[in-house]
Symmetry: C2
């Protein structure tokens, strides 16, 4: 195995770090990941004693990082103040080819900042974008950008369409059917007509229409739940608002439902709703991918548990194995 | 009663027009609205025979409009092609002082277009905005703009904050408690810090901070479900995306829940969930208000039933009775 096929896991990131990450790494190994593909990054003592407590190290490499960035620290300030943080060290491992992917449940802004500055963009990519995959209807729908690029240019949106399509084809729906070869790309807007929305969206609509992508035109928020689209392109502001709204609204709605069910004397409500919870939980899909940088970067949710961490590792592995970044570069050349 | 206290109801607008509107008008009268306050606008034969079928006219005035604009017609084109449409005639009635409010379940773009052109803005108002009130947490939260002003300027957002605060204080939470005198205004953004988001939002944050409003700073999408904010200010693009997302996501989630409950053999799921449905249905609050034009304009949902129409009429009545527009003008002077 080449070192650049390894996955650097930030053991110190996340609300339940380091436990969630150590448990998640062990879970990934149980699910078949070769332990030597994982590089655990963080305080070495913490990692080694944590693994001891869990029955020993099955063969993970460990990379010491003496500092850790907290979930609520200001990303720019923290990255400057803590050059030896697990996020910085893991990013550096990818930069130097000691790993191909960085997986972190930590401070999103710090992970994105470190990757953008440290890894640089892939050849041809103008701006990285954060892609989140939801599986609301039973099929994956990838939305990007979710917040890396708050005021994008039309060309950025075009590139997000291409990067999302590569991810869908090569990883998310790989070989699932013929249609998956040409993922359907939609532009999030407030009406179907090409004239709708802002100047940015009108220009992006034109670029996407002229591109070789399977562009299905403007879509509206509700289309996320109707099937028929694989990649939803949006600016980082709207994407971030949408993501947070969906997350919090899901919890809010389910609480309302639970209360009503309880009022009707249901005992089994919680169990019945766990399947619903899974469907609306994007950590089921392993977290967000920062696409467009020279390396694979998976950003999990701060509140990830071991399963979510294992899913994030799995997403990184599949994205590496499919050479998504190679395909993005070649797609942009075409 | 002055003619300008009357409410012009577009009988021809909505997916179930004219039935939903005639039934809604009669329901409003049953709930205590003086029939002479309602001016039914539409095809006079249809209205008179429809009322006959429903037991007679309790005293509504009728204003004939020989044309009707379909729900899917292009607003600009339709308004030019059909100068005698019920939307145009009802707007004209407000313009001429034959009514003070226009209530329509019809083509939103046409209602907004007719009002913007026909009624003009209130003195001091730069751009009208569409306000939608949700009652997710049990207290009304008003979001504006929901789509009238897709690319606003910072001053527009400031004025939306003021208009939303007047509506909250005078109508939605009138006299409910001391706090309702100073409604809490938040700016929808992707982080709490004033530096977050776009230039538009940073400038609007500054203007709102300096204003006499009770500005609580930036809020995020999820804060809609947590209480603590009365008025959410946003641009019309984001607002429209958010509204459609909430609407469609609600239906999607409840369908998921229903399916799970059925799979667990529940017989009473549908009943248990009807309370949830009500909470997330903004037509419970009577629809959207176009704030900032020289007249009261309530735009209901196309799929409104009689209850929703009655709620919309009630919202128009309360907004008229509270002299919201007078208070907006005086607020902008201050």
């Amino acid at each position: 195995m080449n070192a650049n096929q390894r996955i650097a896991l930030d053991v110190m990131g996340g609300d339940s770090a380091p436990a969630c990450n150590l448990d998640g790494a062990l879970l990934a190994a149980q699910h078949g990941l070769a332990p030597e593909r994982l590089l655990l990054v963080g305080n070495e003592d913490v990692i080694r004693s944590g693994l001891e407590e869990r029955g020993g190290n099955p063969g993970f490499d460990v990379l010491h990082a003496p500092e850790a960035i907290g979930m609520d620290e200001k990303p720019g300030v923290a990255l400057r103040a803590k050059p030896q943080s697990s996020i910085a060290i893991a990013t550096g491992a990818v930069k130097m080819g000691a790993a191909g992917a960085h997986v972190s449940m930590g401070n999103t802004g710090a992970v994105v900042g470190a990757a953008t500055v440290g890894l640089k963009t892939l050849p041809g990519v103008r701006r990285p974008g954060i892609a989140v995959t939801l599986e609301l209807t039973g099929e994956p729908v990838t939305i990007l950008d979710m917040g890396a690029n708050v005021v994008p240019k039309p060309e950025h949106l075009l590139q997000y369409g291409l990067m999302g399509a590569v991810l869908t084809r090569d990883v998310l729906r790989r070989g699932s059917d013929k249609a998956a070869e040409k993922p359907r790309v939609g532009l999030l807007n407030i009406g179907e007509e090409p004239s709708k929305g802002t100047d940015l969206l009108r220009e992006a609509h034109g670029l996407l229409t002229e591109s070789p992508l399977n562009f299905i035109g403007n879509i509206e928020g509700g289309d996320l739940f109707k099937g028929g689209v694989d990649v939803v392109v949006t600016d980082g502001f709207t994407g971030n608002v949408v993501l947070k709204l969906l997350e919090d609204y899901s919890g809010f709605m389910l609480n309302l439902v639970m209360r009503e069910l309880k009022a009707h004397g249901a005992q089994w409500g919680p169990e019945a709703l766990s399947n619903v919870r899974k469907r609306i939980d994007y950590s089921e899909y392993g977290g967000a991918l920062l696409l467009g940088v020279n390396g694979i970067v998976v950003i999990g949710h701060g509140r990830s548990d071991a399963t979510a961490v294992s899913n994030a590792i799995n997403l990184a592995q599949r994205t590496l194995d499919a050479d998504v970044n190679g395909h993005i570069v070649r797609g942009l050349e075409g």
